[in-house]
Symmetry: C2
Subunit: 247 residues, 2 copies
DNA sequence: GCAATAGTGTCTTTTAGACAATATAAA
DNA sequence: TTTATATTGTCTAAAAGACACTATTGC
């Protein structure tokens, strides 16, 4: 009886379909009070020397792409945030034969969201492997920089995904601590959409149905003390709501 | 100066990160008057012998995943539909190390929509490579069959994608000829959502804004002759509509 | 008091959805 | 005429959005 490998060669001829190196690229987002940031590395070598690139790495033999993305994120952030509340999801796969001039690398891009208190950005681990990742404002980078490889395309896709997803889910809360005020949440929307002030009253009304009031109040800000909310679990990534059978 | 290959080995060590076979899997949808179908192949060999699987194949050296998916679709349909009006988009990438027991195969799943006149399903090419693909009703397969590999998961994801996307785009029209009646379009929605009758009046009102009346009428059906419509190009996959700055 | 924010109220517009009514064709 | 469909109209409910108002805090 043929071994598994031999069986497989009936379908798979490595000459015609050569294996590829499988990588992950990460678009890691975090917000300050008013700005959306992403983590970038500055390339030190050929190709695209000196250009900005997304952090990433290769997929190991015993892990899938999501596990590799998680591992890379933990390396960037020094384990503290990666395991806990960071959100990672697959974005898309980039497989153009020419996307890396050195050899064929197929990359599964991921979107990662790090929670912040809205003031300071998470600390990035300085220089484990290649270069140190650092935060840059997303909209400024998109307007002014040409990224290495197809990373500009990936960054745009990630921003589209995030901007679209917060319209119908509470994914925006993944960029905040477990408890947050409506003011903080509103600032996240403004940062992601790069838009002007959203009306506080309407925002409150639209969100409160999906939020759980903890009863506690935030301390220390300017105006009246704001209530601290938690996301009801079922709203973090809700099942799709289909229109009723009469439409 | 180091060659590209040598440079690259600074980052990439094939021992630690072995290359993978890159494949595509296809979820090909088409509708009859009332039912959503997908194309399946029956597995003839190990593993999952006898089980239903999705059509697919490996990615060649000179093509990206989308090109491979298009090529595979053309092989299934015999070129006639693949090049022209068929819609293909990337769905997600499946990379579990154990997803194929023979060796590591990473698969980029794609969603394909074939246009039909609403009566007969497109003809599938009988047996080019492994097995002949044939149409089966999607909801029946999901309810009753266990698919090979992780193809059940892929099929579910494809259905979710399609069902969700037709809520806010006119992607459903990709399952119809270039000109169609509102009745045909409504049947597509009912087939995809596996739901009862949608109200004809409300459906008309909701759709007409995105459709172009050709002025011509469909012939031969029971009741009053229905107008033939075309999709306004900007509605086939429209730019995201973000709420106004006041929300 | 002043400035800034939190939260509520109100009004308008839009959209979804239920359902009735009329029109047009085939049998 | 009967039957089945197309299309328009009407009404209600829900949601989005604009905007005013009051309450509560720090300074």
């Amino acid at each position: 009886m043929a071994t598994d490998e031999e069986q497989f060669l009936q379908d798979y001829t490595p000459g015609e379909y050569p294996p590829v190196a499988l990588a992950v690229d990460l678009v890691v987002f975090a917000v300050t009070e008013s700005t959306l940031y992403a983590a970038f590395v500055r390339r030190g070598g050929h190709p695209f020397k000196g250009a900005l690139a997304l952090p990433g790495g290769f997929v190991g033999a015993d892990e899938d792409a999501l596990a590799a993305a998680r591992r890379e994120l933990e390396e960037e952030t020094g384990l503290e945030l990666g395991g806990h509340r960071a959100h990672i999801e697959q974005l898309a796969t980039y497989s153009s034969p020419q996307r890396d001039p050195r050899m064929r690398v197929v990359s599964v891009a991921h979107l990662a969201l790090l929670p912040t208190d809205g003031r300071a950005l998470p600390v990035l681990n300085p220089g484990t492997d290649s270069a140190a990742a650092h935060w840059l404002p997303v909209y400024e980078v998109l307007a002014g920089e040409t990224l290495a490889f197809d990373h500009g395309e990936i960054l745009t896709a990630a921003l589209e995904r995030l901007a679209g997803k917060i319209e119908y889910t509470l994914t925006a809360a993944r960029l905040l601590p477990g408890e947050f005020t409506l003011y903080q949440l509103r600032r996240v929307y403004q940062a992601v959409w790069n838009t002007g002030r959203l009306d506080a009253g309407n925002f409150t009304r639209k969100m409160t149905g999906a939020l759980q009031d903890t009863g506690r109040k935030a301390i220390g800000d300017k105006g009246a003390p704001a209530a601290l909310f938690t996301v009801r679990e079922e709203y973090l990534s809700p099942p799709m709501i289909r229109p009723a059978a009469n439409s």
